[in-house]
């Protein structure tokens, strides 16, 4: 079993990372600030202005440690990855599967089934937690509607109808986002419908940032297994777009993204002061907010839960990798079907 290695997030503006022996040294203005042994690190994520020495980069590539640069708001900028790993036969199988309409449809359905079921669980969980009867009924009703979509999904016969069911479910689900926020927090965190690039309210800023972190983990998981993250089954292929990573992300949005966002909001761990208002109506997490979110995200990844298919306790952070492995097994023909991750 692969060990869940830590990810180092560097958000110090102007930091310089270099290799010293078997350690990573972070310095600012040539002053050594931190030293971390490399064997703890599975990935390095740089937020904003961070430089890395060629030696550290080379060493990381050798060890299979990925390096990613995100803008300070979590938008993807660059990634350094070592030689393509995994085997060509697997990628060939992936490409053939994507070309076979029925197979592509079947895998798309699995990803979306995972999304619908996990979203539904988030709704039901909020319904259980809510003290307001009207809100409870509303959430349960939305959950029922997702259940209907889930049943219809099983009979969907074209990519268009899967897309339709997914879109419909997303609308129903996001309509309830405000209801899932505690009444006393609603004034501070008003959700005005999904907005991206740029997010137009605090809730959108938060979930977009979480999705960006999660997308990175999904992409790395696929690359680790040897799948091509750009060739998706549900998401349309476009140059530079990690379509398969986006496909895989669908199963995890609710579990690792939305649920965590709601916890951070409802427990008051994030406040208005953790966000900055930008010209043009964009809302972004600021330095302190980002730290809180990354901290919570990393902690959440260390929690364990019972995996329904593997029937063992696994760390949440390993889920994308496990699902990527199961997808690879399916594509190679070792198993009958791809089973998405279902949260209980």
């Amino acid at each position: 079993m692969k060990q869940l290695l830590n990810t180092l997030y560097v958000s110090t503006d102007g930091a310089y990372l270099r290799l010293e022996g078997e350690t990573l040294v972070l310095s600012v203005d040539k002053v050594k600030k931190h030293q971390v042994p490399l064997h703890h690190l599975g990935a390095i994520v740089c937020l904003g202005r961070v430089a890395i020495s060629p030696a550290l980069m080379a060493r990381s590539m050798e060890d299979g440690r990925s390096i990613v640069w995100l803008s300070e708001h979590g938008r993807f900028q660059a990634r350094v990855e070592g030689p393509v790993n995994g085997n060509i036969l697997l990628r060939q199988a992936q490409f053939r599967a994507a070309d076979r309409v029925e197979t592509a449809l079947e895998i798309s359905k699995a990803f979306i089934a995972g999304k619908l079921r996990n979203s539904r669980n988030v709704l039901l969980r909020s319904a259980r937690d809510s003290k307001d009867e009207a809100a409870k009924t509303q959430l349960v009703r939305a959950a029922k509607s997702l259940a209907i979509n889930l049943r219809n999904l099983a009979h969907a016969e074209s990519a268009a109808s899967v897309l339709g069911l997914e879109g419909d479910a997303a609308r129903v689900y996001f309509e309830q986002f405000n209801t899932m926020i505690k009444p006393q927090m609603r004034e501070e965190f008003e959700y005005k419908g999904r907005s991206r690039r740029p997010p137009k309210d605090t809730v959108n800023a938060l979930i977009s940032f979480l999705y960006a972190l999660l997308l990175n983990d999904c992409r790395s998981a696929l690359e680790t297994v040897g799948l091509d993250p750009q060739l998706g089954f549900f998401h349309v292929v476009r140059p530079g777009r990690p379509a398969l990573a986006l496909d895989l992300l669908e199963e995890f949005r609710a579990v690792l993204g939305d649920r965590l966002a709601l916890t951070l909001i409802n427990r008051g761990q994030l406040r208005q002061k953790d966000f900055d208002l930008r010209p043009g109506g964009a809302v972004m997490l600021n330095d302190s907010g980002r730290k809180t979110v990354i901290m919570a995200y990393q902690e959440r990844k260390k929690e364990t839960l019972q995996h329904p298919v593997l029937e063992s306790q696994v760390e949440i952070g390993l889920l994308p990798l496990l699902q990527a492995r199961m997808l690879a097994r399916y594509l190679r023909g070792d198993v009958e079907a791809y089973i998405p991750f279902f949260n209980k």
């Binding site: 830590n6 180092l8 997030y9 560097v10 022996g21 078997e22």
Partner: protein, 96 residues
């Protein structure tokens, strides 16, 4: 697992002082310095072997002394620290 590495290296001769520096360097690669000749390292079984091997290559068994202790986890419960230095937990979220 969490281990504690402590050492005494004889510094009477130049060769000893060289060993001292090299031993510290090896420890630094796998953990963090918590006191002058004491390091805390979080390692798995394999890394421990590598660390031990690297240390044994540096020290002189006739003149120096090396001790490796296994600490009981969780750290927060079993290790108390006082004074000016605070150790970093490399398994906790690392945001620098």
């Amino acid at each position: 697992m969490l281990i504690l590495v402590s050492y005494d290296v004889s510094t009477l001769e130049a060769a000893g002082r060289k060993r001292l520096r090299r031993v510290a360097k090896v420890c630094q690669n796998y953990g963090q310095r918590v006191q002058k000749s004491v390091f805390e390292c979080k390692v798995d079984a394999m890394t421990l072997e590598i660390l031990q091997d690297a240390l044994l290559k540096e020290i002189s068994l006739t003149e120096d002394n090396l001790r490796i202790y296994r600490l009981t986890e969780p750290l927060t419960k079993n290790v108390k620290e006082f004074g000016k230095f605070r150790a970093m937990d490399f398994d906790a979220p690392l945001i620098l």
